[in-house]
């Protein structure tokens, strides 16, 4: 059976733990009803992403991955929430509950199915990566990517949708630090700034929508007439 054939070192296990908690915080993002809670889970998710990058940078010592971890730790848990708070008005955070197309238990079950699917689809690839940490990071990254896309589809509020997008990015990042650890540091910096700018643009857009029509419930923007909107 899986483990136990060779004694896993504690760093590998800690990385696996960071992966498990990363996935768990993604589930938290799917399951919470409040914008604030969704944001907190995103911050947690980013912290686990950074800690996984840090741990992967420790085992064969690579300053590159540690730098990636530090960039992530500054960018996602600190800068992005701050920027969102500044651009989107506080009213968005004051709303208690987010409307959602599916109810929470069903969306959790769908999320569970997506996760199983991610593990299932990556298992043929993982046969070639035996022993490396891609075994942990690839399926969890793919699962987070799918769950982020799912959040984006199901949520009807602007900020959680943005967080779904960012969680997709986190998922891709989580897989990539294990598969392609030697990406140029310049690229990582560009990605970090790209994400910041995306947050900024969507934040400003949300603010504009909010000022215009008094709500950020973008799900009801699909309908033209106001009478038939709900």
């Amino acid at each position: 059976m899986p483990h136990g054939t060779q004694p896993d070192s504690i760093v590998v296990q800690l990385n696996a733990l960071a992966g498990g908690l990363f996935l768990l915080s993604t589930f938290g993002m799917v399951a919470t009803r409040q914008v604030q809670g969704c944001m907190r889970f995103f911050i947690l998710q980013s912290v686990f992403l950074a800690s996984s990058a840090f741990l992967l940078g420790l085992q064969p010592l690579s300053w590159h991955l540690i730098a990636v971890a530090i960039i992530n730790l500054i960018n996602k848990p600190i800068l992005i929430p701050w920027l969102l708070k500044r651009t989107v008005s506080g009213e968005v955070y004051a709303r208690r509950e987010i409307t959602q197309v599916l109810n929470i238990p069903i969306s959790l079950l769908v999320a569970l199915g997506l996760t199983m699917g991610a593990y299932f689809f990556t298992s043929p690839l993982l046969r070639f990566a035996e022993g490396s940490s891609a075994v942990v990071n690839l399926p969890i990254g793919l699962a987070t990517l799918l769950l982020g896309a799912f959040t984006l589809t199901v949520r009807r509020e602007a900020v959680p949708q943005l967080l779904g997008l960012l969680s997709m990015e986190n998922g891709a990042f989580f897989a990539s630090i294990a598969i392609a650890p030697e990406l140029h540091l310049f690229v990582e910096l560009v990605i970090a700034f790209d994400v910041l700018i995306a947050v900024f643009v969507i934040g400003v857009l949300t603010r504009a929508i909010h000022e215009h029509i008094g709500t950020t419930d973008v799900g009801s923007l699909a309908v033209l007439k106001e009478e038939s909107s709900r």
Binding site: M1, P2, H3, A16, F27, I104, P105, L126, V135
Partner: protein, 316 residues
């Protein structure tokens, strides 16, 4: 052989003695967090003592189930105590009589009889609480099953004494994601099964909002004492399974000697106290969920347990 039997019964005595203390401590700590004084930590002992010296009133309309239930509720946690590691890290005399699934079934038997007894009398609140308990119970059941299967699959055994060794035999096993996720799911399960705050308010006195408490409303005198003591013991046993099998299998007696066993008692109590502090922190920072949101709470626990299983099964 004699020592193993004696130690097994020592475990039962420890559970019987300290279960009310745990209940009292949790109540006192909760009151202290809410900046009140609260009753003494020994109040549950006084309650049990007082109730044993009172007369018992049994409704003429009730059947033998109503009279029989307090004994079942009291005895089932005692039986489970024989099967699980409370003080020792090596299997005791009765350890192989039943595995964790057996323990779960025995505990469920107590719950089953408590439900029947609640329906047995004419009290309108009893059946309501009983049906709600069943609602929580059947939502908690899949979580229990998945957690149990994952744990026994990982450890390759269903005997709690063997499972507890797996997590620490190389210390790296402790940090397995499966382990942490199973711990989290089981903690949520304890909150649901023990009737603690996000699911049920144990200190609430409003009958319409009760889930767990309203089943024992009809009991008086010694029957009420046994129901109360049994409920406290059940909670203590669940915590012992959680702490000694899943979370911290340290501080238990390692070989068959009396002074190791005596030393294990304060260590286990310290672990239980830490758990009580965590529980109080959770109970004081969350609000009770609406009845139909309990499904979401236990659904989240279910998802966590399935993720724990997935990360184990697919890890190569």
């Amino acid at each position: 052989m004699i020592a193993r039997i004696a130690f097994n019964f020592a475990q039962v005595v420890v559970v019987m003695l300290f279960a009310p203390l745990l209940a009292g401590t949790v109540n006192r700590l909760k009151e202290m967090v809410q900046s009140e004084r609260g009753p003494s930590v020994f109040q549950p002992y006084r309650d049990i003592w007082k109730l044993f010296h009172k007369d018992e009133i049994v409704s003429e309309q009730s059947s033998w189930i109503f009279r029989f239930t307090p004994f079942v509720v009291f005895v089932t946690p005692v039986f489970v105590t024989l099967l699980i590691p409370v003080l020792t890290s090596y299997p005791l005399f009765f350890a192989f009589m039943g595995d964790m699934l057996g323990g779960g079934f025995v505990l469920a038997l107590g719950g089953f009889f408590a439900t029947l007894a609640a329906v047995d009398t004419g009290n309108p609140y009893g059946p309501m609480g009983a049906s709600r308990t069943r609602l929580v119970g059947f939502l908690a059941e899949p979580v229990f099953m998945i957690v149990f299967f994952t744990v026994s699959f990982v450890a390759g055994s269903t005997i709690p004494y063997i499972v507890q060794q797996h997590w620490v035999s190389p210390i790296a096993n402790f940090f397995e994601p499966t382990h942490v996720l199973v711990m989290l799911a089981f903690f949520m399960l304890i909150l649901a099964e023990g009737g603690r705050i996000p699911v049920d308010n144990p200190s609430g006195h409003f009958e319409l909002a009760m889930i767990d408490e309203s089943k024992g409303l009809e009991y008086s005198g010694p029957g009420a004492a046994l129901m109360m003591w049994g409920g406290e013991m059940k909670f203590f046993v669940l915590i012992c399974i959680f702490l000694n099998v899943l979370v911290t299998p340290w501080g238990l007696a390692r070989d068959i000697s009396v002074h190791e066993l005596v030393l294990a008692i304060p260590l286990v109590l310290i672990k239980v106290l830490v758990f009580a502090l965590t529980l109080v922190a959770v109970e004081c920072s969350l609000a009770k969920l609406r009845l139909f949101r309990i499904g979401e709470f236990l659904g989240a626990a279910f998802v966590i347990s399935v993720v724990a299983m997935t990360t184990w099964v697919f890890a190569i």
